[in-house]
Every structure is written in structure tokens, then in C-alpha cells.
Symmetry: C2
Subunit: 344 residues, 2 copies
DNA sequence: CGAGAAAGTGAAACCGATTTGAGTTGATCA
DNA sequence: TGATCAACTCAAATCGGTTTCACTTTCTCG
């Protein structure tokens, strides 16, 4: 590989002049340099540049599950804002695995200028970002324990839970079940609290057997839904706390031959991958996904620009809304339209 | 940030000794060094190490659409093989955009030891990888024009097309439509050829108006399906060439109130995101997705190990198979089971 | 025209690790 | 004890760019 020295020699100038040319300064011999670059097929070494400049213009986004379309949407938002600011985005997967996450963080720090992290758990290790000289970290969606606070873009998870509960209450549901996530995931526990507390406030208690914990993935939702729905006394409504587990729940509902919404009202959190394709449409709690990623990147850019650790970490909380469709129905209300999820 | 020199001073040894310790050589003062590293919070600079070593232990995988679960699955396969070989995988998105792809490649080359690329088009620029000194490139799924050949992991796309056609022929379908991709995408055109030629061989010609080209994405599939299915004379069967466009087609089918398989047999390529959730189950052409990613990474590792450009580029072609479900039905055959995609 | 400012240049230092080459230390064996 | 060899160690060179500093050239304007 040709180096900047080769180019300099070919163009009869000093390496520093070539460097200046590359970096947009005006240079007298620019045509000769350009020609030499072309002929030698010169590409500046990223490592050398990074080393000297101390920056890479790359941001890493670390998510627990790239298969989840929610993350894909946030990535799109972050990518766009990054592009506007001359930053490249790379993506890493942690499979909801806190050990893998730790390894990824260790490997990636030092190769990028900043990180957007969706923590696998509230116990995720942010130690690498706690030193004052560390690169900036923005958390998304979930929060972490630990001594230091970071910029965070979250949504009003608690309100999402209350909206869901209130909707089901309004429809007359009293025996409701919830499929939620591990206790260590702050976003699902907030949704869960919002849901349970709203029911409690209405003097209805969700019994233990109607609270199942899954792993946020399709198989977890499937298993949890089977547990809840194959018992003798079934709830009249089910709230599933994220989209992938909702997919699993839908599969279980199909296997069990349960009709939605006639035999069960179903309410999910986040847009489903199958949206638009199944019938009846699913009622969901929604949030601005793309915007969430964009916001995370904006916070990061601000930190990078400012270079200051001065101002306090900011937490942005985006709103959620209830999107009512056909999967939730008034309890014992006669309406009979709506399809079936029965297995073929 | 502490450097290796700071550690060396704190431990009263030379920087080179610290370096050796870090890299696993036996060193007398290892405890003192370890203590110094701990105290100073030392992390070796990736840039400096990359510059000196000329390698990064990172592989980039560049895909046209991270929202597509097919890619997510291949990523998982590649990631695992990478991990076994001490390589970290980062992911970049190109949105099926050849210009963006070019920019991503330019930025990423020099930061990684190798690239797995799913080209956005056969005209994708692989120029950066053509020099003998360039880092290795493995192509996945699609092939590119251009002077040099690269290691490639593909599937038997042509056979996928013929399997699809033969299945529909066997069921008695004669008036069939196909939703395919741009002419510049080799994988879809191979599937398309397999499909059309098989019909032609059976002396049935698929008319132009039954051949629609989409952009591989949900909206493209929706539009294409609308075009084909809202005409007066509809085909009795539809073959959709990839999963995301299949989702769009399903949505269109729902909007138009067409019953599958009673009024239309539907056959798709690749597993759908909504699989397991909708009814009737969709007949599909399938392939080993995870294995495909794993193979790509193995080819890359081989190149990296060998360091040789000697042996010819290899092309691995993985098999496809037909998975028959309820969405394809014998033409005019009475069977009446199977659900409906009617919009709620 | 000449002073002063502006623009451009090259040599050398620098970023922070690894590697080389030339010792130094310590153990082993005759 | 002295020779031989293995195991370590250090100073210096190196990777390939960018930046600084001191200097030269060119432009501007009274």
C-alpha cells in the first residue's frame, strides 16, 4: 500500500504538504499531488490518522437483538443524524447477553468516538465510560445502575403501562394477564409497574399466575403465553410488553386455537414485524422509534462537539400513545367481526 | 488516558516489557505491571496497535437492509464463526443504495481486516478490493461484475426459481405472476430465470403484465402486488422473490380482500418475519441462512490465515428447498380450509 | 516601491503501541 | 569454576499519518 511519503516523493513535495492537500487546505501543487494519489492508488491509513488525531469519526451502536425491527428503526434514525454530522455508524449485537456485551464494549472502545448502548440489563457494565477522559456514552431505552449517570433517551414506559391498563379497564376487562421481561430490565419493569398499579388503583389485583416473565424474544413470549393461556381459567385480556414476545404470544394463541378478540383481547407494546399482514389488526402502545435513535445521536454529537463533561447528563423521555385496533374488544360485548389466528 | 509508557514507569520496566506482558509473553515483573495497569486504568490504544500490527481483528459485514430478518440470521452465523476465531463483527447498513454503499466501503476499509458484503447491485464497486494488497472481501448472496472474482457464498437461486415454478405447475397453475427485483440484482434475476424458464419449458409463457419489479422492500412488494392483482384478469398463483416484498404482497392481498389459497396461491422466497403467526402458513423456498453467514466468515478466515492470494476465488453454492404449506393449492381443487387475509 | 499581512512550505516532532537487535541475567552441565 | 544456552530486558526504530515551528513566497495597499 502506498503511503503519504510515496505520494510526496512522486509529486516532489513534502509529506506534510500532501497531508494538507488531503485535508482541504489550499496547496499550490494540488494537481500534481492529485495525480500522484491517483497513480499510486493511495488511501490514507485510518489507523495512522486515528492515532494522530485521536478520533475516528465512527460511532458504535450496541443493541441486544438486531432481529428486532424496533432496533432497526432506531438505527435508521441514528444513522441519518450521524450522516448529517459526518459520522459513520456501525452496529454490534449482544444477543441480550451481558457477558457478550461486556466483551463487545471492551473491544469497541478505542475504535470509535462514541457509543449508543441499549443495555442488556440494568447491571450492564458502563465502567469503561466512567472516567472523565472516556468517550461519550448515550443510553437508549433502558437505564443502568452504577455510580455515574449518562445521557439517556427513553420513552415514558410507565405511562405506556398505564395507557394499556386503562384501555383494558375501559373495555371492562378485570382478569388480565401480562407477559413482561426480566426484573433487571428497567424498561419492562416500568411498563409492568404502570400496568399493575393502574389495575391496583382500580381495585383489581393481577394475580401472580397471570404475570409471566420472558426473555424479550419470540420463544420467550411463546412459552409465557402457553403457560398463561393453557390453564383452565384464562384471562380475558393479555398485555405483552414487547414486540418480539408478542410474536411468540400470537403463535401460542394460534396453536391453542384461541380467537382474538372474541376469546381474548390482545394488547402489545411496539409495532409488530407482522403488522399490516395479519388480521385482526393488533392494538398497540406506540412510540417514535426513528426519532428515538435520532435523539440519541444528537445527544452524542452534542457531547462530542462540546467536549465538555460539564453539563449534567440529560434524560429525554419521548411520549407513547395508544393505537386502538381490532384485537381489543369490550368484554362480553357482542361484536363478532375480526378474524382468527387458528393454526392452518 | 494512560499510555503504556505510564505503566512502564509505574512498574519500573521498559514499555517493551509491558507490551510483551500484555501480549502473553512470560515476564518477570508481571505482578507489578498488572498492578500498575489496574491502578492507572490502562487500556491499550487500538489505533496505535492497529497501526503497528497492520491488523484490527475486526470484520465488517455490509448488508442492504438490516430490517430484513434474513440478514439478521446470516449475521448471527457469521458472528459465531468470527467469535471462534477471535474476530469481532460490526455491521453496516446500505439501504439498498449503491452510493451509500460506496461511501460505507470507503470509510470502512482500513478500519477492518476483512469485509463480508451483500452487494446492493451487480454494479457495486469492489474496486477497493482489487489491488493485490487489499484486504479480503467475501461476497454474499449476490455477485458483482468487475474484473476480479471474489470468494462468494451464494445459494442455488436458479434452482429456487425452478422449484417454485415446478410446484405451481404440479398444482395445475398456468396463469402465474411473479414479483421480482431489479434487473441489476443477480440473485433475484437468477430466481426469476429459473421460474420463467421452467414455465417456458412446459410451454407456458408468463406474460409481461404478470412480471413486476420491486425494490426488495415491503412497500415495493405492496405496490407490485397491487398492480398485478387489481387488474381484471388475475393470475391463479403468485411467486414473490424475497421475504420483505412478500410481506408487502400479503398486505396488498389483505386490502384487496383476496382469499389465500382459495382465490390465489402464494409462494414466497425465504422465511417471512410473520411466520408462525399468520394462517394459512405460507409455502416458501428456504435456504440455510445461518449457515450461509457462517460459511462467508469461514472463507474470510481462510483468506486471512493463508495470507495468500494464490488459490482461486471459491464460490460456495448452498442448496435450497421447497417447503410446502397451506398457501399453495391445487387449481380448482375443492379443498376449503385455510384462513383469510382480509383486512379487519 | 516597500512594509506588513497572508498564504504556503518543509523538517522534525508526535500520536502510542510493537518489534528488532544487542545485551544481561540466571540456570545447567562438564 | 567456566562455558553454553535459554529466558528476559532495554533502547531505539517503526508503523503512517498530522501538527508545529520557523521560514519563504506572494499578495495588498498606502
Amino acid at each position: 500500500m502506498a503511503t503519504i511519503h510515496d505520494v510526496a516523493r512522486a509529486a516532489s513535495v513534502a509529506p506534510s504538504t500532501v497531508s494538507r492537500h488531503i485535508n482541504g487546505h489550499s496547496v499550490r501543487q494540488s494537481e500534481a499531488i492529485e495525480r500522484a494519489i491517483e497513480e499510486l492508488g493511495f488511501r490514507a491509513s485510518a489507523s495512522a490518522r486515528n492515532l494522530r488525531k485521536g478520533s475516528t469519526q465512527v460511532i458504535a451502536m450496541i443493541v441486544p437483538d438486531i432481529q428486532n425491527p424496533y432496533y432497526a428503526a432506531t438505527v435508521a434514525g441514528a444513522e441519518e443524524v450521524g450522516r448529517e454530522n459526518g459520522l459513520r455508524l456501525v452496529l454490534c449485537n449482544t444477543d441480550e447477553d451481558i457477558e457478550l456485551e461486556k466483551a463487545v464494549l471492551r473491544d469497541i472502545v478505542g475504535r470509535v468516538d462514541g457509543v449508543i448502548l441499549v443495555p442488556a440489563s440494568e447491571r450492564s457494565s458502563t465502567a469503561l465510560f466512567e472516567a472523565p477522559s472516556a468517550i461519550p456514552l448515550v443510553l437508549m431505552d433502558r437505564e443502568t445502575l452504577g455510580p455515574r449517570r449518562f445521557d439517556t433517551v427513553t420513552i415514558d414506559n410507565f405511562r405506556g403501562g398505564t395507557l394499556a391498563a386503562q384501555h383494558l379497564l375501559d373495555l371492562g376487562h378485570r382478569d388480565v394477564a401480562i407477559i413482561t421481561g426480566p426484573l433487571t430490565a428497567s424498561q419492562s419493569s416500568a411498563r409492568e409497574r404502570g400496568f399493575l398499579e393502574t389495575f391496583a388503583a382500580a381495585r383489581f389485583v393481577v394475580p401472580e399466575r397471570f404475570i409471566e416473565r420472558g426473555n424479550f424474544r419470540e420463544d420467550g413470549g411463546y412459552q409465557a403465553a402457553l403457560n398463561i393461556l393453557s390453564a383452565a381459567d384464562r384471562p380475558s385480556a393479555l398485555f405483552v410488553i414487547n414486540n418480539m414476545m408478542s410474536m411468540g404470544a400470537l403463535r401460542a394463541i394460534g396453536h391453542l386455537g384461541i380467537k382474538v378478540p372474541d376469546n381474548l383481547s390482545l394488547l402489545c407494546f411496539d409495532q409488530l414485524p407482522c403488522e399490516g399482514v395479519i388480521s385482526p389488526r393488533i392494538s398497540t402502545i406506540r412510540r417514535p422509534m426513528q426519532e428515538q435513535g435520532a435523539m440519541a445521536m444528537r445527544l452524542l454529537v452534542t457531547r462530542l462537539r462540546a467536549g465538555d463533561r460539564e453539563h449534567e447528563p440529560r434524560t429525554l423521555t419521548l411520549p407513547v400513545e395508544l393505537s386502538i385496533a381490532a384485537s381489543t374488544q369490550r368484554l362480553a360485548g357482542g361484536g363478532d367481526r375480526g378474524g382468527s389466528y387458528t393454526a392452518a
